[in-house]
Symmetry: C2
Subunit: 209 residues, 2 copies
DNA sequence: CAAGAGTTTGACCAAATGGTCAGGATCACG
DNA sequence: CGTGATCCTGACCATTTGGTCAAACTCTTG
């Protein structure tokens, strides 16, 4: 018998509390990184006592790992769909816009990931060098093919992907900076960013006579 | 009389040890963020005892603040020089390449800053909303002027600057990810990145007939 | 309603952490 | 060489931190 409750929830209470804990942990980990986060803080945000929290997860690290592995999947989903249909330039621009929208709607997830990578990715290096690299290499080959067929301008596919990640996640990860420089509040700047990125990648990839 | 040693070093030992501490702190803070870093760790990396470290700096926070404010200046220096001479497109591309070079040569500084911003910029928000915003608004006006004069294609200047920050700092902040995906070791990918970014911003800004 | 499964908590612990302090070692300089 | 200023350390402290545990509470279900 495991000391902690089983992974798949069997009761309503279990489902609710596990959800509350993961949500609270996302808050705290994304704001302070793994080492900067404390169980007391997570427990407080989740509205539970610390021992109760440790009844649902065996350790601080277990919560962090659970969040990260759960995130990786949904985070890479847009990339998996790149190239499904449509013209190459449109596909790549659409991918960038989908990533931008994720930065807008899921900023905590983006920052959780950013914290993990900036701090050396101690818990996801395997995934990066494994599945992530495989997927990226795959899509890079696809983009490289488009370039050779003359359907887009010739570019380094890997660095194109990096630049899309960088420009889109910037609006989540560096949110305070962006907001501090652009006075208007609200999410208006996301629409501007969408326009800018569309121009940026359209101009890069469109073949001119 | 202050408990801690004066800010301007008066002896050789003071200069050497203060330097060692700041260098060690840059290592540790950039890798773990403020809350994740410990004085013991900084002291060990610096080769000093913890009480000795606290002889030179009054607190953990003092070291962090010192690093950040010292960094801000040199970090924004390239932006100050934007527009000093030369054609607009060249100037902006040169700025991006200068930033990329800083990401290559000063990755710890970039990550220190990234950690601070991702975690909400609790210690530099004033600088962001003050001097940084002023400088950015200033340069944005310059770029906007170029656009209106027809010397570059019309773009949102603020988002252009954000995208340059994002694409260049990405190579420092997400270094492990970049290296995990690009198999070849060494710094070869920085040359590729320079080429890619040159194309990216040249194509964006050059006016086509 | 009884009883077992599932849930919650207060009290507790060892280790780590930021920081203090009195005194000793070392250095610079007259 | 002596002496005052600078530098360094071991011992110590209060608080925080991740984690444990036995006991108590509550929920479900026969």
């Amino acid at each position: 018998m495991d000391k902690a409750v089983s992974r798949t929830p069997r009761t309503r209470i279990q489902a609710r509390n596990r959800e509350a804990i993961l949500d609270a942990a996302l808050d705290v980990f994304s704001q302070h990184g793994f080492r900067g986060a404390t169980l007391d803080q997570i427990a407080e945000v989740a509205g539970l006592s610390k021992p109760n929290l440790l009844y649902y997860f065996p350790s601080k690290e277990a919560i962090h790992v659970r969040l990260l592995s759960g995130l990786m999947d949904s985070w890479l989903d847009p990339l998996r769909h790149l190239g499904d249909a449509g013209e190459p330039v449109d596909e790549i621009v659409a991918y960038a816009l989908r990533k931008l929208d994720m930065a807008r709607t899921l900023p905590r997830e983006s920052r959780l990931f950013a914290n993990e990578i900036v701090q050396g990715a101690p818990r996801v290096l395997d995934m990066i060098e494994g599945p992530l690299k495989t997927l990226v290499d795959d899509k890079a080959a696809l983009i490289g093919g488009w370039a050779q067929e003359g359907r887009i301008a010739p570019v380094d596919p890997h660095h194109l992907i990096f630049s899309i990640w960088a420009t889109t996640q910037h609006y989540a990860d560096f949110d305070v900076q962006v907001r501090g420089i652009l006075t208007p509040e609200g999410d208006a700047h996301f629409a501007e960013a969408a326009g800018f990125l569309t121009t940026l990648y359209t101009n890069l990839l469109t073949i001119r006579p």
